[in-house]
Amino acid sequence: MSVQSLTYLFVGITFTLYIIIAIRSRAGSTSEFYIAGKGVHPIANGMATAADWMSAASFISMAGLISFLGRDGSVYLMGWTGGYVLLALLLAPYLRKFGQYTVPDFIGTRYYSSLARIVAVICLIIVSFTYVAGQMRGVGIVFSRFLEVDINTGVIIGMAIVFFYAVLGGMKGITYTQVAQYCVLIFAYLVPAVFISILITGNPIPQMGFGDQLINEPTYLLTKLDQVMMDLGFRAYTSGVKETIDVFCITAALMLGTAGLPHVIVRFFTVPDVAAARKSAGYALVFIAILYTTAPAVASFARINLFESTHNITYTTAPEWFKNWERIGLIAWKDKNQDGKIQHAAGNAFKPIKPIFSDQIGDFGQREISNEVNLNNNNEVYIDRDIIVLASPEIANLPPWIIALVAAGALAAALSTAAGLLLVISSAVSHDLIKKTFAKNISEKKELALARSSVLVAVVIAGLFGIYPPAFVAQVVAFAFGLAAATLFPAILMGIFSKSMNKEGAIAGMLTGLIFTFSYILFFKFLNPQLNSSEYWLWGISPEGIGFVGMLLNLLVSNLLRLITPKTPIHVKEMVDNIRQP
């Protein structure tokens, strides 16, 4: 069978599975809809959290990023796993003890204020929608490359599936579909990694394989990769170029942001008790770590394979995958030295970096581009980082069923995260804004209907993001983590660990974090992208890492203000005492 029909088969089977699970675990009450009736087993919740967390970005883009960044890519590995330690030790058990439905619920109750609740809802919506946009792009890429359908059709199919199981099943349906999606995605990620590891190093465990010797010569893989890259004018793979302070702040912002992401936090509301919340955070990190420790191995395998299979190879005899990805515009080649061969070197091949294809076909059959050619280097190739994971089975010449499996896995990753995000957005709207703020008297039945219709609205908006992708999707990821780190994380943390933190302090802190981080990112990413380099940054901290500074400012402002404003009421202090007990 061809790759395409196998992909249809795998995607068809997995989608049917998700729908069956959703029908079997429909939600009947608001408690089931928002938090799965608090009846999820810690291991199941660990898997669901892992699927919820590992998005299209983790599955598709992360290994590609690391592949091109080398050691600097470690910020994602440590940042996106280290956050779980904070979550497990500082937030999850207490939030579970608190026992309500949403993150703004906690902030609104702990800071005895509707205003605090609304500020939290605003932060939550900005963070979550930013994130959803990225998932839709992932769905689009997979559909267009592997199923060869129009990106828009792909997005609509994806949205229809998510809509179906989120509206029907609420958190309960999502939880059990996420468990299935975790199994699909982790299997799809590991199988090619194990095969490639065996092919390159003979070691079946990728985590050890990339530290091993190559199968065809007695050199360590990383030593060889460093060597090849330095010969081509790159810096060594295992060295970094980013400033240490920037690496530090990005890692911190990603960790704190991870711990403050509402769709992850809310997963710990779904387990039976405090001990189960702790356990499921542990299991979640185990399930996540399986992928996160494989990713850097995939990254280095892909990088070395990329050079070996295409560097100094005549275009006409170049492997099929090179042309497949060129056809959908994620690879481009410009024969600078007119020798008909593909050459890699350090630096961007063209200006602007992304290729603009003209309709012409070059002498060798390649797609011609109309970008200005960058003559300062010998690099002839543009490769979109997002294709590394999707293409690496093809690059390593693995059988078609593995390629199809990876496509199904990427869709599982994108859909599970999208569903989790859409649910927190809709529960923030139906529960926090409508039920708790504007229309306190509505019945449970009405609230449930409202929750379902807000999922519908959220799905449609997310679908529009997928069909008309804002040009800035890639740039806004920094927003999600930075804002979660600077607003929600410190507010929850102080809410648990400092009884004297009052509403004035918390609200001012969240607003400070929000405004500071938002403006910094806006300034460098959108208003003045030409200034976006270390000499203009505050203390050399990039917009990706500024959320850490935002968090420090939040803590500073909130703690200063609480000293000069009325004290926390006694019943709130008692509530804090209560959540501190198991």
């Binding site: 796993t81 280290g82 779980y84 530290g211 360590y220 893989l221 890692t251």
Partner: protein, 90 residues
């Protein structure tokens, strides 16, 4: 302070101490070994990896998992202790 409040206070103190020491390790393996001292550690080799590189891309993640499980176990013991003391007092 009554006995009940005293026990809860004790429980919270032990909890804070535990969390603080685990976070100290959390900080030293990631920000310490993986970032601040990565270049220095890179002179040592560990199963074919430069050590700093290994901490940044593998080691810190394993230790994170380990830390959470220590926390789960210690807290379970603390919970049980609190429960047994409270029951005895009643």
């Amino acid at each position: 302070m009554d006995k009940f409040a005293e026990n809860r206070h004790q429980y919270w103190r032990s909890n804070l101490k535990l969390v603080f020491s685990l976070l100290l390790i959390w900080f030293s393996v990631s920000f310490g070994c993986g970032i601040l001292f990565a270049d220095y550690l890179d002179q040592f080799t560990f199963f074919g990896f430069k050590l700093g590189f290994w901490f940044a891309q593998q080691g810190s993640i394993y230790i994170f998992v380990f830390l959470i499980f220590i926390y789960i176990n210690r807290m379970k013991k603390l919970d049980e202790k609190l429960k047994s003391i409270t029951n005895k007092d009643e």
